[in-house]
């Protein structure tokens, strides 16, 4: 069997609202394979890409087909939380690895013993953000999040921690996931006169939000934007204009991360794709790394139990910095950086200025 390829089913939203997420991850995966070859531990790696358009019942069927017909060893990708959740029972039943490369709700990894994650959880960046905000003179905050699980996660983790640290959340606003005009919500936030607005919008919507924020003149009114890094997504940042200068976010990856590894990564990525990598792409890149290394460790054995065992505790240096897989929760442990939007060589970047090291998912940590 050593000659058989190891098949990886990559289920991503390649069309629809979340298409940019899919594109980034796919590019990350491709880049990794290009750099590291398509053979590992004597076995060829074969990636089968499927588009679920972020519709969970598509995800479920595609996962099922990949497992049953294509006999994949790993299903990977998952642009949104419901998609990742929908596939979980199949991972358990089929004993295949479900590797989450994007979705960021805390609970996902608890849904099957075969799930591992190389992206992030929203709590991971929201909690350090709350700490930072409390320490930096921000007292009153309005939270604004998209009304779905990751948004709720971000809102809850931030508020809990922020209140603990003595801050005040004067209003919590949730807006629909698909939302054309932020104006009324922003106006409402502004009328509450906070020191800062904590915002979470899914990858891709940050641009509109920031535009309308400045259009309203809130920056001039002295209100800061803080949030998990999605709102100043690297993908969109260059197009957002100078208005976003100074926005402070907490996130695990910035294209500006000042390590040699990252500089090489960004360069190679741009060359291959013509656009800047964002945090989604490293999820895909690191996910492939995790699979490769685990296979090396198992000597090419790719059944679910062996592979997940090999993944647990694995640690390595990623473009984002040092990361590892928590042996208990199979979730990712990583640094979270505080960043501020600045202009470098005429382009906007999230420039890191502080680091919180080795952050575990706070939600799961709190459960113990």
């Amino acid at each position: 069997w050593a000659q058989d390829p190891v098949k990886i089913g990559l289920i991503l939203p390649m069309t629809g609202q979340q298409a940019s997420t899919g594109k980034q991850i796919k590019a990350g995966v491709d880049l990794y394979i290009k750099e590291h070859g398509d053979t590992v531990a004597g076995r060829k790696i074969e990636v089968i890409l499927k588009d679920d358009a972020a519709v969970p019942d598509n995800t479920k069927r595609l996962a099922q087909e990949l497992i049953v017909n294509d006999k994949v060893s790993v299903i990977a990708g998952f642009g949104v939380t419901p998609a990742a959740l929908a596939a979980a029972p199949l991972a358990t039943e089929g004993k295949v690895i479900e590797l989450v490369m994007a979705a960021g709700t805390s609970i996902i990894t608890e849904r099957s013993p075969y799930i591992a994650r190389t992206s992030f959880t929203l709590a991971q960046s929201s909690v350090p953000l709350a700490d930072w905000a409390a320490k930096n003179g921000i007292k009153k905050v309005v939270t604004m999040v998209s009304d779905y699980a990751p948004g709720h996660d971000a809102e809850k983790s931030f508020s809990d921690r922020f209140k603990e640290a003595g801050g005040e959340v004067i209003e919590a606003i949730r807006f629909p996931l698909a939302n054309p005009d932020f104006a009324p919500f922003l106006q409402r936030a502004a009328d509450a006169k906070p020191d800062a607005i904590m915002v979470f919008v899914p990858s891709g919507q940050g641009g509109t939000f920031m535009k309308q924020f400045t259009e309203r003149g809130l920056d001039k009114a002295g209100i800061k934007v803080i949030g998990p890094g999605d709102v100043t997504d690297d993908d969109l940042l260059p197009a957002m204009g100078d208005a976003v200068l100074g926005a402070v976010t907490a996130h695990f990856y910035s294209a500006d991360h000042p390590s040699a590894k990252n500089q090489a990564y960004v360069e190679a990525f741009k060359k291959a794709n013509n656009f800047r990598p964002n945090f989604m792409s490293v999820g895909g890149y690191d996910g492939m790394h995790l699979i490769y290394e685990a296979l090396k460790k198992t000597g090419g054995k790719a059944d679910g139990d062996t592979l997940i065992a090999a993944m647990k505790g694995m640690s390595w240096e990623s473009p984002r910095g040092p990361i590892s897989i928590d042996p208990e929760t199979r979730d990712i442990i990583q640094n979270v950086y505080m960043r501020k939007v600045e202009k470098k060589a005429g382009e906007l970047y999230n420039v890191e200025f502080a680091t919180f090291e080795g952050i575990k998912d706070p939600v799961k940590a709190a459960k113990k």
Binding site: G22, K23, K50, R61, E65, L177
Partner: protein, 346 residues
């Protein structure tokens, strides 16, 4: 003209509308055969069967009663959540029974909302049905404690069918189950459309003013068929939940209703098979193209849709003439009845 006395000829013509055509028999034989012939494709076949049933529900109101709806997902979603909740909280554990309950529940919703679509033009109806589906979606989103909100309904576990057949990962049980339900409901629909009730729907579609002048209670008939169709959609939704043990807000999405409309138009309205054929074509096309180019498959689907319209359904139908001619030759009743009736008006 035939040599028969006109009386007999007329009687025969009336009944011939409802007689089984050889192609129909062939169609269902092929469907049944796929259980054995294509065991590896049962997953997608199940989806096709469900989509086909869903399209059938739209055909009943659109193809026969002339009500355009862009909100069938409302009933589909309602059925889906009903089945999910019934299973999750162990309210009705037998899948078939739960399916029926879900269908009836969706039909009730259909009955209540049917009064909204009695008036207005096509466009109005499109928007009202769409609005109903969107509002329902918002409600499902809002009551996340019950429905799971944007994360989907988790923890649904479907008990074995009749206590015997477990829903396996290969989807064998699921396919047989879905196909069985589809066949039963298809037969029922076929019966309905060939009945005087069905004919009266067609007349309402053609000319409601005249229909009323013939003594047809237009609104009553529309309410009835809308309710039935909602039940069909609900059953389809429930089937989806039961065969995937999962449901999420996407069952109520606008895209679902829109795709459904596409499916039905591709297959053609008003002869019952349109939805089924459309479902087969659309799913296979999508599956094939998405495998070929996961990122840009919508382009090719779009191109196909455009081509279908530009070439024209009649011309496409004429390409299948040889097949139909062949089927007619195979018709065992040909000698006795000389079936010149095309029966179906695609």
């Amino acid at each position: 003209m035939s040599q028969q006395p006109p009386g007999e000829e007329i009687a025969r013509r009336l009944v011939a509308r409802a007689s089984w055509q050889p192609l129909e028999v062939l169609f269902w034989a092929a469907a049944l055969a796929s259980i054995y012939v294509l065991p590896g494709r049962h997953l997608i076949l199940t989806e096709i069967a469900i989509l086909g049933l869903f399209a059938l529900s739209l055909d009943l109101i659109l193809g026969y009663a002339g009500i355009v709806s862009l909100g069938q997902a409302a009933f589909f979603g309602f059925g889906a959540y009903a089945a999910g909740l019934l299973a999750k909280y162990d309210l009705v554990t037998e899948p078939l029974l739960a399916l029926i309950v879900s269908g009836v529940a969706a039909a009730l919703v259909g009955f209540v909302t049917s009064f909204l679509v009695l008036r207005g033009s096509d466009l109005t109806r499109i928007m009202v049905t769409l609005g109903v589906a969107l509002v329902l979606r918002e409600i499902a989103n809002r009551y996340a404690w019950l429905t799971g909100g944007a994360d989907g309904l988790q923890g649904v576990e479907i008990k074995p069918l009749f206590g015997l057949y477990r829903f396996d990962m290969f989807g064998h049980t699921a396919f047989c189950y879905a196909l069985g339900v589809l066949i039963v409901l298809f037969l029922l629909a076929r019966r309905i459309v060939h009945s005087p009730f069905g004919l009266s729907l067609q007349s309402i579609k053609g000319n409601p003013v005249r229909a009323a002048a013939v003594g047809i209670p237009v609104n009553g008939r529309l309410v009835a068929i809308y309710t039935i169709a909602a039940g069909y959609a609900g059953v389809a939704g429930a089937l989806l939940t039961q065969t995937t043990a999962f449901t999420s807000l996407s069952v109520l999405d606008f895209e679902r209703s829109a795709d459904l409309l596409l499916v039905l138009i591709i297959g053609g309205t008003g002869y019952l098979y349109g939805g089924l054929i459309g479902a087969i074509l659309f799913k296979l096309m999508q599956d094939y193209l998405a495998a070929l180019t996961p990122q840009y498959w919508p382009f090719w689907i779009g191109l196909l849709l455009v081509a279908i319209v530009l070439i024209g359904r009649e011309r496409i139908m004429s390409w299948t003439k040889p097949i139909r001619a062949l089927a007619r030759r195979l018709d065992w009743r040909r000698s006795t009845t000389a079936v010149a009736v095309e029966g179906q008006r695609p």
